[in-house]
């Protein structure tokens, strides 16, 4: 077969299904395992405790996801480069500490405190990026040092009291705890989202026709957008029977969408995937590899700081334990469980959302069953191990199908 623009558009649903099957058997599982896993987890917990899927609990679940999920978005970015950031927990704790001290002891305006905290995160990322690109020290070690160093900084900022309660009427606390979208606005946002998805698909289809490229059926795109709309509307309607859709959760989802668009539709995103796939190839193609590394480390630490602010708002406090405990590992586990490869170059921003949903579902479900955290840790560890095994197996399967 000679290369040429195929004249028959391979657009039928049957071809789409065949494509999907070929991808799956070829080891390109995408987000399928995590979606299946999430459904299984929800089914099991619902069977064990009927209040798991209650609107009240699901609203809690969405709010629990937002903070660590935001941190996980940054982890997805560094994993795409084949790097790691172990210090996101400490950075989020530092951001919480800066917010707490700024608001209560220094009398800063909320905007100033948030800005300082986020800039501190960005500065830490810039330092990592500079160290990595200048000295070539593995990011594992740089950020391990960062984990300790930033933790020290957090303690220093907090001072002797060690724990600061945020004012209960501060907008960031309200944002994280008690602001919910009115149902009409949530429905409207769902409609806008589905509309934009459909419109962009339709525009892309028109550009492809103009360029003489084969196109899929428009009905298929309409079906997808319609499915998205139906899903959103059902979720909003169900959550609205309780408090509704939390503003903080919407903020998290918007962040995921923004990062996803940046990764898939911009030159920067293309460069991130290229560097993750082959640094040498990217460098020889004229990509300024150092800039890509630095931009990603900065984004990761910045997102970690934002996540820390959300967590502080939700707990309405900043303390020695902010960002401690399992924050770090939950964020990293979320990115991996969501389907972002540890080996670089494969993954998507959505894996942060899916992965954190799995982790928080397990945590939330086990808490409902009043099992203590010893079991929670072990089960979360098992799920993480499972996700990494799936990652390795699909990688091997891709190799076997000549697609590694």
């Amino acid at each position: 077969m000679t290369a040429g623009i195929p004249t028959t558009p391979p657009s039928r649903v049957s071809t789409a299904l065949a494509d999907a099957r070929a991808r799956l058997t070829g080891g390109d599982l995408g987000s399928l395992p995590v979606v299946v896993g999430l459904i299984v987890i929800w089914g099991v917990f619902q069977a064990l405790n009927p209040s798991f899927l209650s609107a009240d609990n699901l609203v809690n679940l969405t709010l629990q996801c937002a903070a660590v999920g935001t941190i996980a978005i940054g982890i997805v970015l560094v994993l795409l480069l084949g790097q790691i950031d172990l210090s996101v927990g400490s950075v989020s704790g530092l951001a919480a500490a800066i917010l707490g001290v700024g608001l209560t002891q220094l009398g800063w305006a909320l905007g100033v405190a948030i800005l300082v905290a986020v800039l501190a995160g960005a500065a830490i990322g810039l330092l990592y990026g500079a160290l990595y690109t200048r000295f070539g020290v593995p990011s594992f070690i740089i950020t391990l040092a960062g984990l300790l160093g930033v933790l020290g900084l957090q303690l220093k900022v907090l001072g002797p009291t060690g724990s600061i309660n945020l004012p209960a009427d501060s907008p960031i606390v309200l944002f994280a705890q008690s602001w919910f979208l009115p149902p009409w606005l949530a429905y409207a946002l769902s409609a806008v989202w589905a509309g934009v998805v459909f419109l962009s698909a339709a525009l892309r289809r028109r550009r492809r026709i103009r360029a003489g490229l084969p196109v899929g059926a428009l009905g298929w795109q309409a079906l997808r957008a319609g499915g998205l709309l139906a899903l959103c509307v059902a979720a909003v309607a169900y959550l609205a029977t309780d408090r509704g859709v939390g503003v903080m959760f919407v903020f998290f989802v918007v962040l995921v969408i923004v990062v996803d668009v940046a990764l898939t539709r911009t030159v920067w995103g293309r460069q991130v995937y290229a560097v993750g796939g082959s640094v040498e190839a990217a460098r020889r193609a004229g990509i300024r590899v150092d800039r890509v590394y630095i931009s990603v480390f900065v984004l990761c630490s910045t997102l970690a700081a934002v996540g820390g602010l959300l967590a502080a708002g939700r707990l309405s406090s900043a303390s020695l334990s902010s960002g401690g405990g399992d924050t770090n590992l939950n964020a990293i586990a979320a990115a991996v469980i969501g389907g972002t490869s540890l080996f670089g170059g494969r993954g998507s921003a959505w894996s942060a959302l899916l992965g954190i949903a799995v982790i928080q579902s397990i945590s939330n479900g086990l808490t409902l069953l009043s099992l203590d955290s010893s079991i929670r840790y072990m089960i979360t560890g098992g799920v993480l191990l499972l996700a990494v095994i799936i990652d390795s197996l699909t990688r091997r399967s891709r190799a076997a199908h000549g697609q590694a």
Binding site: A3, G26, L213, V267, A274, G277, A281, Q403
Partner: protein
């Protein structure tokens, strides 16, 4: 990208696109190249052959801007030029396809073709890039199942095709191919040789580094032999037999430029075993 009509066979009265004169290069005490001469005309395939250590790779690296030459002149379209770094080489219009291809396995064909030269305003214009990718591949009569599969899913020949096609995105005058058929099977080699003929038809000057005499004789217009870092023969491909080339490579005969010093012992012609 316009398809040039096939130019007539290179003639010495036309101006070479690229000329190297008296190029020398040493690494410490190792003299890699001594007084090398090389000319490449537009629409001509020049094969550079030689044994291991003959200096083929060093010559390529000088042209690609990886190493600067110690002495000698390089002329591009009759103008003397310097090639201090890879960017200078690329902006002169020299495209080099190294043996390891330097493709990103996880990206699809379109993304690899336009890597570092994406069309974006400011969102990526995937449709325009895909259209141009098909156009380019069609001009090269290249076989490709789809331009939306990751490189990892392609055969060795198809990867080589993508790497060569990518070098053409900037519309270079000279394309340098370093051992393009080294790791390929028979059918894939034929595919790549076809591709080299398409490059000649488009009017690119092609420098082909190869170990494989059959490939060289199949596509080359001119064969330049290097031996121990010196020119040791410059043949028009139709006029020369397999044995002559082998003799020049091994030093059994001292061709166009006899070596002034340190002649090697053993002037017995070595019969190639076939």
């Amino acid at each position: 990208m316009s398809t040039a009509t096939p130019p007539p066979l290179p003639r010495m009265d036309r101006m070479p696109a690229l000329a190297m004169r008296g190029i020398s290069k040493s690494f410490g005490k190792v003299q890699a190249l001594t007084d090398i001469h090389l000319e490449v005309y537009p629409g001509e395939v020049v094969a550079i052959v030689g044994d291991n250590g003959a200096g083929k790779s060093t010559l390529v690296k000088i042209l690609a801007g990886v190493h600067p030459a110690d002495a000698g002149e390089i002329e591009f379209d009759g103008q003397p030029v310097q090639i201090p770094d890879p960017t200078a080489s690329r902006s002169l219009g020299i495209a080099t396809v190294f043996q390891d291809l330097a493709l990103c396995d996880n990206l699809d064909v379109v993304a690899n073709l336009f890597l570092g030269r994406e069309i974006a305003a400011p969102a990526l214009e995937e449709e325009e890039m895909e259209r141009r990718a098909w156009e380019l591949l069609r001009q090269l009569s290249a076989r490709m199942p789809s331009v939306r599969v990751p490189i990892a899913a392609l055969s060795g020949g198809q990867r080589q095709t993508v790497a060569i096609a990518r070098s053409l995105i900037g519309d270079p005058r000279i394309v340098i191919l370093d051992e393009p058929t080294a790791a390929l099977g028979v059918a894939q080699t034929a595919e790549v040789l076809n591709l080299i003929e398409r490059l000649r038809e488009r009017g690119h000057g092609v420098v082909l580094i190869s170990h494989n005499m059959a490939d060289v004789q199949a596509v080359a217009d001119r064969i330049v032999v290097l031996r121990l870092g010196r020119n040791n023969g410059d043949f028009l491909a139709p006029d020369v037999g397999y044995e002559d080339i082998i003799a020049a490579i091994t030093g059994a005969t001292e061709h166009a430029r006899p070596m002034p010093d340190a002649p090697l012992p053993g002037p017995h012609p070595i019969r190639p075993t076939r």
